[in-house]
């Protein structure tokens, strides 16, 4: 097949541009990561003098780390699934009071991030000074009630966060199930229990299994909670071990690279299995139609279910925020402070201290640029993947979705090497972070924009073409206006994700390019707990404002389109 010299010229240029940019952003660091993992030659020499798998053999010297990772991941996945399934069932299938409101509230834990949860639960649950343990001792208990600096503690904090992810995934499956399938079973004379076991459960199972694998893969790559809660007790998982290998002197670069590579291979396989389950195993439940789920009257039981909902939101949202606030307004935080202990000095300090304001300023600058450039780049990529008939569009999709399978810390590791070698000196500047954010958030942006793009009938663009409009003209007059809600949503999501980013930033930021989230972690370990709490709350407030703007804008925009 030959392409004429007239045809699709601007499209072809845009396509080539996108392919090169996506390839450079994603594959270039991955290549350096693999090179470092396979480098068995002189550690001082670059490029490597010998290649081999010896670094991977070195992993076997750390069986405890692998065991820790699996323990935490399994425990957190199990808890998150139980929470997610229970909440999904309660909120879609029972007549618990206030279902609508709870359903909207269920995304809040996700926006609060594992870091915030870890900081708050650390304040609550460290054996010596944890507020809960202080209260326990005040009530006459001995030593401590809970120890958050353990595998169970890390898993608990992660489960509160991932529970909201599991809820969204399982809830979507429950909602997309045609209630007629269950009614048919009952009409044929099956009992409620039998219907539940023979019809409902098999239909929901692929969705639950998919959520389990997705959450488990996320857990393997999770970093913040394990860092904050595990470091004090020297409880390391793979990601924190990689970080530790990088931070110590001399750094164990090959080992960190081998560990990172193994981790991302495992995650890649799991996410592949996840996609297979989601696309192949969903039977007839997913018809693209939203059904009004059949609501079961659970009688008195609904007050118990209501209590479960309230407990989840309390433990994952209300309690962490209150704890941080409580700590941030004390000179030295304690469970039972004297009246003289209260102060606003930490907030004043957070707003005046050079390190904190610079970091926040840098984060806002990065957020604005990541979101703006990201929407342009990712919008173009989405269009190329889903709308153009350019050859290789499918390959671009695989490349841009790739960062999802790589923990950001591991990706940052490859990026550090890659951009250290890059002829233009951007290492240690905010530009490096900007490039890193644009890379690791590719899947987020492309998925958000393409989700809206796929809802826009293709013939709307084709019709503009038949009216004689050139590629640029129809993108400007038809595609972009119709895509507007998606673009705004993507902009705000990218902004929020940038402000909260930890895994990639912690490795890539330099002394002159500090950003807020790693600074919060640094402050936690190096300076005062109370100041850290204040900084975390300020960051949360910025995110909360962006998210409420997001919700308001998307609601108005979609209302306009569906009018």
């Amino acid at each position: 097949m030959r392409v004429s010299r007239f045809s699709f010229k601007p499209q072809a240029i845009a396509g080539a541009f996108v392919a090169i940019v996506a390839g450079l952003l994603v594959l270039y660091p991955v290549a350096y990561l693999l090179q470092a993992a396979l480098d068995t030659g002189d550690p001082e020499a670059r490029p490597p003098t010998a290649y081999g798998f010896d670094n991977f053999a070195g992993l076997l010297e750390y069986p405890q780390i692998i065991l820790n990772t699996l323990t935490v991941s399994f425990a957190a996945t199990a808890m998150a699934l139980v929470l997610g399934f229970l909440m999904a069932w309660i909120l879609t299938r029972t007549n618990v009071p206030g279902r609508r409101l709870f359903e909207q509230m269920m995304v809040v834990p996700y926006y609060l991030t594992p870091l915030l949860g870890a900081l708050a639960w650390s304040l609550l649950g460290t054996p010596e000074s944890g507020f809960l343990n202080q209260a326990y001792r005040a009530l006459g208990g001995a030593e401590y009630l809970i120890d958050i600096n353990t595998a169970a503690g890390i898993a608990w904090v992660m489960a509160l966060f991932e529970g909201s992810v599991a809820f969204v995934m399982i809830g979507a499956v429950m909602k997309s199930m045609d209630p007629a399938l269950e009614e048919a079973s009952q009409v044929m004379g099956a009992s409620r229990i039998r219907t539940m076991l023979r019809v409902t459960l098999p239909l929901v199972l692929p969705g639950v299994l998919g959520a389990a694998i997705f959450v488990f893969a996320e857990m393997l790559g999770s970093f913040a909670a394990a860092l904050v809660l595990g470091l004090p007790s020297r409880y390391y998982v793979v990601t924190t071990a990689i970080y530790q290998f990088m931070q110590q002197y001399p750094p164990k670069i090959p080992l960190a690279a081998a560990m990172g590579t193994s981790l991302f291979v495992v995650m890649f396989v799991m996410l592949f299995i996840y996609r297979r389950i989601i696309t192949a195993g969903s039977y007839v439940t997913i018809t693209g139609k939203a059904f009004r789920p059949r609501v079961n009257d659970v009688g008195r039981l609904r007050y118990l279910l209501l209590a479960i909902c309230l407990f989840y939101l309390f433990a994952s949202v209300v309690l962490p925020l209150l704890t941080l606030f409580y700590a941030s307004i004390q000179k030295i935080s304690t469970a039972f402070p004297a009246a003289s202990n209260f102060t606003t000095e930490h907030f004043t300090k957070a707003f005046t201290m050079n390190a904190a304001t610079t970091a926040l300023g840098n984060s806002l600058w990065l957020g604005l640029w990541t979101a703006t450039l990201g929407v342009l780049l990712m919008g173009l990529i989405s269009w190329i993947i889903y709308r153009s008939k350019l050859p290789g569009a499918a390959a671009i999709e695989y490349i841009v979705m790739f960062p999802q399978a790589v923990p950001r810390l591991v990706f940052a590791f490859g990026m550090m090497w890659a951009w250290l070698m890059f002829p233009i000196p951007i290492y240690g500047t905010l530009w490096l972070l900007l490039i890193a954010y644009l890379t690791v958030f590719l899947p987020l942006g492309v998925r958000t924009i393409s989700g809206v793009m796929l809802q826009i009938d293709k013939s709307l663009e084709e019709c503009a073409q038949m009216c004689g409009a050139s590629w640029g003209y129809r993108i400007r007059t038809v595609t972009v206006p119709l895509l507007w809600p998606g673009l705004i949503a993507a902009w705000l999501l990218l902004f929020v994700a940038s402000i909260r980013e930890l895994g990639a930033s912690i490795l890539l930021m330099g002394p002159h390019s500090k950003v807020i989230t790693p600074s919060i972690v640094e402050s936690w370990f190096a300076s005062s707990t109370e100041l850290t709490a204040a900084m975390a709350l300020i960051q949360t407030a910025v995110v909360a404002i962006a998210v409420s703007v997001l919700l308001a804008v998307t609601r108005r925009a979609t209302a306009h389109i569906t009018d």
Binding site: S4, F6, M466, P481
Partner: protein, 366 residues
């Protein structure tokens, strides 16, 4: 344009289109005369829409050539593929493709704005186009506030307002309800005559094809099954597929009795008796198939006077369907379907006489 009448406006030659390795169109050739309305008719998956989209430039063929006004817009041999926006065509889409973020006026004005027409010209032309489709009162409405039929009219106005050389229609009426569809059919035909524009129309609806077209191309499995005027296609289908797809027909198979051929008719021996039909110049071999339209058969209690094609039958089932009554009769070893508007009431199980004029019995090419 003195010889415009002689050069076909659109020529499609040996067009082949593959989706990956799956062939959608497998070598199709036809041409459309200036001002002619040609319809591509066929069941879903026959390649009709793909062919139309290839003419539009929205689908890239694998081989063949498409010429518009004599100039190739696609040619695999000459490596030409002019993008859709430069072919000077226009199209009405199945989904209407009304842009929800624009008013009716802006939707229709789009093609004129692309062509950088002056403000006054745009207003004048859009208003004239909206008048033609009776949508002038809605000109400032948001496009998403329109009903299906109104959207259809706006889509139509938008398609012809910039005086394209050719109008393409991709099942434009298939999303409308039955009654509105019947009205729009007539309206569209009238508009087409007034504009005198060359058009290619795609549909799977037989009545639509018969009502709308100067010529019909029946397609099946990516190939052309028959080309002809609506009358040709309906009255003398070439094969069993066309006979059955274009209306409802009874197929009667049997052995050729050349010894009984008389008066230019072909005689066929079947289990139900001897059937006489017309060959229409088609070769008559040993084993033949006739096609008889269900509406061309007569059923009566008394034996009709005709000498040929009268057979005694038994009424198996009689179903009143409103505009017509369908009667299934047992004839030889098969069931024959008879449809008529004003039929004698015949009790199920009773005997009757089935008859048909020999000219209504058509020999098929196998």
């Amino acid at each position: 344009m003195a010889d415009a009448a002689r050069t076909p406006h659109i020529e499609v030659e040996n067009l082949e289109i593959h989706y990956g390795v799956v062939p959608a169109v497998r070598g199709v050739s036809f041409s459309v005369q200036p001002g002619e309305q040609l319809t591509l008719l066929g069941p879903s998956g026959c390649g009709k829409t793909t062919t139309l989209r290839a003419i539009a430039g929205l689908e890239k063929p694998s081989a063949g050539e498409i010429r518009i006004g004599g100039a190739p817009v696609y040619s695999s041999a000459r490596s030409v593929n002019i993008p859709a926006e430069k072919r000077g065509l226009s199209m009405v889409f199945q989904s209407y493709a009304i842009w929800p973020h624009m008013s009716v006026f802006e939707n229709v004005a789009y093609g004129l704005r692309v062509r950088r027409e002056s403000k006054e010209a745009i207003v004048e032309k859009v208003d004239r186009a909206l008048d033609m489709v009776q949508m002038r009162p809605y000109r400032d409405r948001g496009a998403s506030q329109l009903s299906g039929g109104q959207q259809q009219r706006v889509a139509l106005a938008r398609a012809f307002v910039f005086q394209p050389a050719v109008l393409l229609f991709d099942e434009p009426l298939s999303n409308l309800d039955a009654k509105l569809r019947a009205d729009m059919r007539i309206e569209l035909r009238e508009l087409q005559h007034r504009l005198g524009i060359t058009s290619v129309y795609v549909t799977h609806d037989l009545e639509e094809a018969l009502a709308m077209s100067d010529r019909i191309v029946v397609m099946r499995d990516g190939l052309i099954a028959q080309v002809g005027s609506p009358g040709d296609i309906y009255n003398t289908p070439r094969n069993a597929f066309v006979a059955d797809f274009v209306g409802s027909a009874n197929l009667i198979r049997g052995r050729h009795r050349a010894d009984l051929d008389a008066d230019g008719l072909v005689a066929l021996e079947t289990a139900g008796g001897v059937v006489y039909g017309m060959a229409h110049g088609r070769p008559a071999g040993a084993d033949l198939t006739f096609s008889v339209r269900t509406v061309h058969l007569q059923l009566s209690a008394q034996k009709p006077a005709a000498a040929r094609n009268v057979w005694p039958v038994r009424v198996a089932r009689s179903v009143f369907q409103g505009d017509f009554t369908q009667v299934n009769v047992a004839w030889g070893d098969q069931v024959i379907v008879v449809r008529g508007a004003a039929m004698e009431p015949l009790a199920e199980g009773s005997g009757a006489f089935l008859s048909v004029e020999p000219r209504r019995v058509v020999l098929l090419e196998e």
